[in-house]
Amino acid sequence: MSTLDDQAKESTDEAAVESTEAIQDNGTGGYIILFFILGFIASLLVGWIAFPMALYSKKEQPVAFNHALHMDEVENGCESCHFFRDDGSYSGVPKLEQCIECHEEVQGDNENEAHFVSEYVEKEREVPWLIYSKQPDCVFFSHAAHVLKAKMDCVTCHGPVGEMESLPVYEENRITGYSREVWGKNIAGLKKNSWDRMKMDDCADCHKESNNKVTSVQTEKDACFVCHK
């Protein structure tokens, strides 16, 4: 208790001293401002630089895939590998079965391909692709509605993936488990291109622009169940 007592005394003294100083000495005032600025700058650095670095973990794709190279080989553009099934559902990332159609055996002298064939084709293992545009389970996204009905192209949302020669590093949000592409590269959430972000607001913006039908009594926009399940 005596220690507590002492501390109390000390702090009281300190406070008294400081408050006296504050009025008398403008130098101390500057000292306070300095600390304020230090704190301000430190937090800016943390928030803008350290935080995004800490938030995302980087993951390599299992196979180095060259979209550009494949685009040259196939006849039907993106739909050659990413196609609609008969029931209207979208196949998404190709299964091994589709890859095997061409890559039953190693075709060229690319070591990535060799790795792919030996690790996956021969072992009949599905490739555990990391999907950049993977949306939460609550999202119902119909490729058919966008591509077939609204005649949108892939680039609008996915960007010029077809021209990429290598897959970008997959950055996973340590809290949510989603790819950084969903929130966007820019930590502030700013975007330049239509494909820079895949948040609900991005869907909503486009729906607002292109859809003149108001179906939600709450938001006077598209009803929730258009995009949710």
Binding site: M1, S2, D5, A8, T12, A15, A16, A22, I23, Q218
Partner: protein, 448 residues
Amino acid sequence: MDSALIPNGVKRCSMGKFLLWNSIIGLVLLWGVFALLLCWIKGLNQTNMNNAYGFALWIWADLAVIALGGGAFFTGFLRYIVGKEELKNIINYAVLIGFICYSAAQLILGIDIGQPLRGWFIFWHANIHSMLTEVAFCLSCYFIVLCIEYIPLILENRQTDKVPFFHNLTHNMHEVMAIFAATGAFLSFFHQGSLGGVSGVLFGRPFGFREHIFGTIWPYTFFLFTWSAAACGPCFTILVTKITEKIAGKKLVKDNVIDLLAKISGWMILTYIIAKTADTLYWAFVTAPSTGFILAKFYTENPGSVYGYWILFLEIVICGFVPALFLIVKKWRRTPVLLWTAIILAVIGVSLNRWVLVLQVLAVPVMPFTDWNIYFPSWQEIATTILPVAYGILLIMISYRYLPIFPQEAELNPIEPEPEPEQEAKPEGKAEEIKTKAGEPELKPAEA
């Protein structure tokens, strides 16, 4: 040993006694925190709520503490807008009580929602048609106002007041306090009302549903709630002040202040209860019967007849007209027993009203082939409801000890000789005794 922090001109109990009581209340608080953590970690299955009782003890507690905390806005309104100067002697305490009530309400809401981490959706994704949204916004804003009103009080502590910045801030805030008080009254009007609207808009629940003003905007319970909070809130302020005086063993606020507030309360309660009676009659004979419900369906044939006509009688007569008369008639109001009775009844009345409009609404079966729902809270619910009470007591204890809450205290309780501000040698335990429950062991000062 903390005498440097204690306001000038008043006496406080010894540090040891203070700490002991703090720790006793602290234990209760910890019990509540434990229950709170259980609810957060394991989910709301820790409660006895169910699909029929989505709202239960917590929501009642919310509504009740906000009604009781209404003393803050209404006293502020009377003091700063109407200009009842005497009330400056109780406004600090009213603000403190309001602050406690509102922070308690927010804490309880934080436990009550199934997904606390998504709580901010109510602001960000607000649906303005929902009464709860209005409650959330106004309640949060008013809580900011309460903080602003509470800040100068903290800064008036003897030590902080020495800092010129804080001293000046206190001064300047007092200067514009009327603005805050007005804003507070504005916000309170809406969130108190919206709480009344919570059950009033439920057209699927004939027990709670009320006709709306202009047909669509707000149900009449909106106004009844605001009115009842303004009427009964000050009673709670008086009640807590009186209890504090009992515990402190000394007079803290002059009688004329209490008398004025009590009188105003009395008239407010009377007008409220007349309106409430009218509302009840209209509901019982017009609104509810139009959907096939007669009054007897709401008050009879339920298990153990818990929800009987007695509730109406208790709420409107015993806890309505009776306290109103006690407070209005000067002679009765100045009889301590009757004053105590009146303020306690008023507090019970408004709490009962909130209970009925949350719990009984859900208890009444709406589908004819279903039965009454009866609910009793789990210990976790009770503990988390007691938690803010314990927190409130702690905050009052600390605030009372270190802040000049009662401007008239020094005047009413002159002490001789004044203790040296920074000197700590003298044990203070004997200088003053808090009269607590009989049989309380004499509290010895610590080994200082």
